[in-house]
């Protein structure tokens, strides 16, 4: 059963309350991992899995867990799923795991998850709502990191998904500094669009 408020929560996570570009949470892996589009997809999938599963579990057990231990309880749940993802990637995607390194276990400490588990706890809504919220969060996160990953791969190594596009790329873009610069410029462009758009609405 899809209610209107549920759908709204889902859609707002993708654009109006996007975790990365609007709420500014979960930034650490965004900068460190998004050097290629492939890595971004891997990270996006891992984060989405942990986010959706932990969100569902937390919303199911919310009624039995006393308020005092809600943070430790949700952290243990998130840690369980994160460990699962970590070992899964190490077993089946060795190259990816060498690249993601400590950032897979660090998904755990991601403010994104802490924020969202806080939301699942505070909102007295149904499991459907929690699921849609988590799904919205993960889709919004994945879109942004895929965009940043593709741009950094194209600019920084002159390739896309491993296909060489041109020679002599801008090497700084694959370094951490390039990530900071690119996100700064992207946010600037977004701000500019937003101010243009709202000005037009006013007139």
């Amino acid at each position: 059963m899809l209610q209107n408020s549920n759908l709204n929560a889902f859609l707002s996570r993708i654009w109006r309350a996007n975790p990365v570009v609007v709420l500014m949470v979960g930034l650490c892996p965004v900068l460190a991992i998004t050097t290629t589009a492939y890595n971004s997809i891997g990270l996006g999938a891992a984060v989405s899995f942990v986010l959706i599963c932990s969100g569902l579990t937390i919303s199911l057990i919310r009624k039995f867990v006393p308020n005092e231990i809600k943070i430790p309880a949700s952290m243990v749940i998130i840690a369980f799923y994160t460990t699962f993802v970590d070992y899964f990637i190490q077993a089946y995607f060795i190259e990816l795991s060498a690249y993601l390194g400590i950032f897979i276990p660090l998904i755990m400490a991601n403010c994104l998850l802490l924020n969202s588990s806080e939301i699942f706890y505070s909102v007295k809504n149904s499991t459907t709502h929690s699921f849609l919220d988590a799904a919205g969060f993960s889709i919004g996160f994945s879109i942004v990191i895929l965009l940043i990953g593709s741009l950094r791969e194209i600019l920084g190594s002159g390739a896309f998904m491993g296909q060489q596009l041109f020679q002599e790329p801008v090497n700084v873009m694959v370094l951490p500094a390039g990530g900071f610069l690119l996100i700064g410029i992207l946010l600037g462009i977004l701000n500019w669009f937003r101010s243009r758009f709202s000005e037009k609405n006013d007139k």
Binding site: M75, T82, G184
Partner: protein
């Protein structure tokens, strides 16, 4: 790469500047951006990070090497580290509320956010990844904590100057902060490869 045979001074230097946790490894950015609004608030973030980091390193090293490795329970590493951090953050909040009520009111609710952020967990995970012994782990974690403090203080200073500078309207706020952090990161990149770190 560092290991147990590396000179302790070099371990500290590697964690402190060459592989700076914020600017090169890009870990702990949430608190880096939200706590650096003034020099004072960045110092407020600095003290708990150093204290909790040190305590968490010692506790988790003991737990990992004396309890998890002998019984082959390495897969519980993440859960146990997280619980150690949560425990320490609760203790620290309690102490600060009792002893330093004044400090607590200025740092406020963001304290638990600062300390529960990625940096501390990252330090513990890196210590186990490099298989450092207890003394080297402590040196490494201190290096990382001071590296964070260095970065956030420099960044707070730059943010105060940029606040009064004429910049394009669209770049105000987060965009210019990211660009500033990128420039700082480029500056620190100049040290890459120093002493083979």
């Amino acid at each position: 790469m560092i290991n147990n045979t590396t000179n302790p001074v070099l371990i500290f230097l590697s964690a402190f500047v060459v592989n700076n946790i914020v600017l090169i490894r890009t870990i702990g950015l949430c608190s880096f951006f939200s706590m650096s609004n003034s020099l004072k608030s960045s110092l407020n973030a600095a003290v708990p990070i150093v204290c909790v980091n040190l305590a968490a390193t010692i506790l988790s090293w003991l737990f990992y090497n004396l309890a998890l490795i002998p019984y082959k329970l390495e897969y519980l590493k993440l859960v146990s580290f997280v619980l150690i951090i949560v425990l320490l953050v609760q203790i620290q909040e309690f102490i600060l509320k009792k002893v330093l009520a004044n400090y607590f009111s200025t740092a406020g609710n963001s304290l638990s956010v600062i300390t529960a952020n990625c940096i501390i967990l990252a330090v513990l995970l890196l210590n186990t990844e490099y298989k450092l012994d207890l003394v080297n782990s402590i040196i490494y974690s201190l290096g990382i904590a001071f590296g964070y403090v260095l970065a956030i203080i420099l960044f707070a200073g730059m943010k105060e100057r940029v606040g009064s500078a004429p910049i394009p309207k669209a770049l105000k706020g987060y965009p210019i902060e990211f660009i500033l952090a990128g420039l700082m990161s480029i500056a620190i990149l100049g040290l890459r490869g120093l002493f083979g770190l």
